[in-house]
């Protein structure tokens, strides 16, 4: 596996014909071997094999299964497998539960048979399944006094649409099935046919609450394909933007949790602290969500002494105020009563179903690509990765509190190490032909993974996007089990997963 560009730890660029490609059996064995060796599966997806046979129906021979692993200390590993015939597929989900979403997605997108897969529910009702969300038959429990509760897609709060189907006995939830796809906008197909220069505004809209992480992941990937490098100072600004996004969205989560347990000081204080943080982003780049801040090879807004002073002043105030509300939040009996031991995902369960990111860390799984890959600014300025052992709603609240504190301190450290950074002119793109890149960035929810493949003329032939939510929704379904149905809102809020990130 030759590496053609001096790689950033968060990206792996390879010529397509140099990607290790195996027959399905050996591929499957290698995946098992990687898992057994302790390497962490980051992504598993299909991609069409380019060439004359690409047109027309999908057959096993023209779909490659791609596996991306993270080997701690050694970085990213990417290899693929191609089956000769449909009969060869043997779902890995039966052995590793955390594969379920990936194999379901491959089944949906390429129609490959996954005979024996325990749960081939469509991930997002795309392609041929479009508009057929009502035809689906939900899992049912039967018995005296068992009843079914249907919630959504339109919810009581201002949130995205998703449908939740509960099987309950009294108020106790025995089973929750999560039904997603309402948000499907065909993002991957659009990304594949959009001119590279116009991709950034689109990528920022895949999950608008994670606009920065999506854009940075895209920039890194595209830069690697085009052989563009950015200065360490630009990486610092990207780091600041990423951590501001994390702080702002963690504040949304804490505010939401406070609202859902009727802890009004938290609801109002976390809410207005978020306003301070996103208004800071707006003063730095014109958008409260960090939109248009970055383009491949380009920092679009100069970073001046004035901005540095602004960041110091704003963060100083936020730190003072957040310490007060955190103290009250953590001590409040009403908050603890509602959140402690509610919606628990124990460590072993989290590992077996592959929960990642912040939610994983709240269940004691130390998965954080900022620490695992130490790419970009996190190499020179590492950020501490924290975990909470218990995996309940309280832990998911605490992990946010701790990560906010760490991120704010970290931003101040970066700002102090930084002089002024001027904006860059836009750069021309000349992507490598017949190459592919995997790019990973730790957004506030967890790892955002993107895969871009070019054809013989350097045009984008395939674009794959993966939000951490696709893996974590199943965690929410597990968390709710054996809880009372009235605790569902706080469980949902504590996970705070992306509907559109799953639905694409």
């Amino acid at each position: 596996m030759a590496i053609i560009v001096a790689n950033h730890p968060n990206v792996l660029t390879t010529k397509i014909n140099e990607v290790e490609t195996l027959g399905y059996k050996s591929f499957r064995a290698k995946v098992e071997e990687q898992i057994a060796s302790g390497n962490r599966l980051l992504s598993f997806f299909g991609s069409p094999i380019q060439g004359p046979e690409k047109q027309g129906v999908t057959t096993p021979k023209n779909v490659a299964l791609n596996a991306v692993f993270l080997a701690t200390g050694r970085g990213l590993i990417h290899f693929r497998g191609i089956a000769e015939a449909a009969e060869e597929y043997k779902p890995l989900t039966n052995k590793f539960s955390f594969m379920h979403c990936f194999e379901r997605e491959i089944h949906d997108q390429y129609g490959l048979p996954m005979t024996g897969h325990p749960w081939l529910k469509p991930i997002r009702f795309e392609g041929k399944q479009l508009g057929k969300m009502n035809d689906y038959r939900f899992y049912k429990l039967e018995g005296k006094e068992v009843h079914e509760v249907a919630v959504g897609p339109v919810h009581a709060g201002v949130i995205e649409p998703g449908h939740f189907r509960f099987m309950c006995h009294g108020e106790k939830v025995y089973h929750l099935e999560i039904h997603l796809g309402y948000q499907h906008r065909g993002a991957e197909a659009l990304l594949t046919k959009t001119e590279p220069r116009k991709i950034s505004p689109l990528i920022e809209s895949i999950a608008g609450d994670t606009a920065v992480a999506y854009t940075v992941a895209f920039c890194r990937g595209w830069e690697a394909l085009c052989g563009i490098s950015v200065s360490p100072e630009v990486e610092c600004i990207r780091g600041i933007a990423l951590e501001l996004e994390r702080v702002a969205m963690h504040l949304v989560g804490l505010g939401g949790l406070a609202t859902d347990v009727a802890f009004l000081p938290g609801s109002s204080t976390y809410g207005r602290l978020r306003t301070s943080v996103i208004n800071l982003s707006m003063r730095l780049c014109g958008s409260r969500f960090g939109r248009s801040w970055f383009r491949p090879g380009q920092l679009r807004f100069a970073f001046t002494e004035k901005h540095k002073a602004d960041i110091r002043k704003t963060i100083d105030q936020v730190q003072k105020d957040i310490a007060l509300i955190n103290r009250l939040f953590r001590q409040s009996t009403t908050v603890r009563h509602r959140l402690c031991t509610t919606g628990t995902v124990p460590t072993e369960l989290a590992k077996s179903i592959g929960i990642v990111g912040m939610t994983g860390r709240a269940s004691g799984v130390a998965c954080d690509t900022r620490g695992e890959l130490k790419g970009g600014v996190y190499a020179a300025h590492p950020i501490e990765v924290v975990t909470e052992p218990d995996g309940d709603c309280w832990s998911r609240g605490l992990i946010r509190i701790r990560e906010i504190d760490l991120s704010l301190d970290w931003i101040l450290k970066i700002v102090n190490s930084l002089s002024e950074v001027s904006e860059n002119e836009r750069v021309e793109y000349s992507p490598l032909p017949n190459a592919c890149v995997v790019s990973v960035e730790e957004g506030w929810r967890g790892e955002v993974v993107q895969y871009i493949e070019t054809d013989s003329s350097g045009k984008i032939a395939h674009f794959k996007v993966q939000d951490p939510s696709i893996r974590n929704w199943f965690g929410l379904a597990q968390a709710v089990k054996d809880n009372a149905i009235y605790d569902f809102p706080i469980c949902n809020k504590s996970f705070d997963l992306s509907y559109c990130g799953n639905d694409l």
């Binding site: 309402y182 906008r185 707006m282």
Partner: protein
Amino acid sequence: MELIWDAIKVRMSQGKQFVPDLRGANPVGFRGLPVIDTKPCASGCTQCVDECPTDAIKLEPFTIDLGKCVFCDECARTCPENKVSFGAGYRLASRTRAGLIVGEGKALSDIEACDWIRKIFGRSLKLRSVSAGGCNGCELEVNAMANVNFDMGRFGIDIVASPRHADGLILSGPISANMAEALALTYEGMPDPKFVIAVGACAISGGVFASSPALDRRFLDRFEPDLYVAGCPPHPLSIVNGLLDLLGHQSGTW
């Protein structure tokens, strides 16, 4: 006892957080209303049109469709004549779709209050938000209108939990095909009289997703919005000001 002191400290740190005048606020740094110069374009130049990710720009005469614009600033950067620049203006709403197209000497016109809406909902307007493919950008900003900073509740405007309690529907997102039916059902479930507000480039025009075959925007053929708010996502001030205009509130204070 200690807890009470902690609560008092939080309350004191909170101070007064509300934006006193929602009409006269100054969102420093906001990239909002474009300012279009009257100087002529360089002959034959189409750079801004070529760079625009949502085909929002037309030439001869130069116009920007704010219903498509995602405020990415690319046209301003690419124009050799510096014909367009983005200012901090947040009055970005219109009563009509065509009203969102701005150009030389064609500013965003002031919104006249809607008589029937003002008469019925002027003092109390309850809204239901439906995201139909929204990326959570617009949804977060709609939520922010009700927070302690923007506090639209002071004008009797609230978000309610059920369509059954709602007077207006805030639509965000490009209307994904999978959500089209639920959106229509939600609107049908609202009691008459009622109206639609389209928030953000996706809802207004499909935005960056406009060319996707996975959308079904026919809802808008059946129910024409009474208010359009531009932005990607719109600033809470843009949405609140649009609503105040629609309801005929002169003042942004209460």
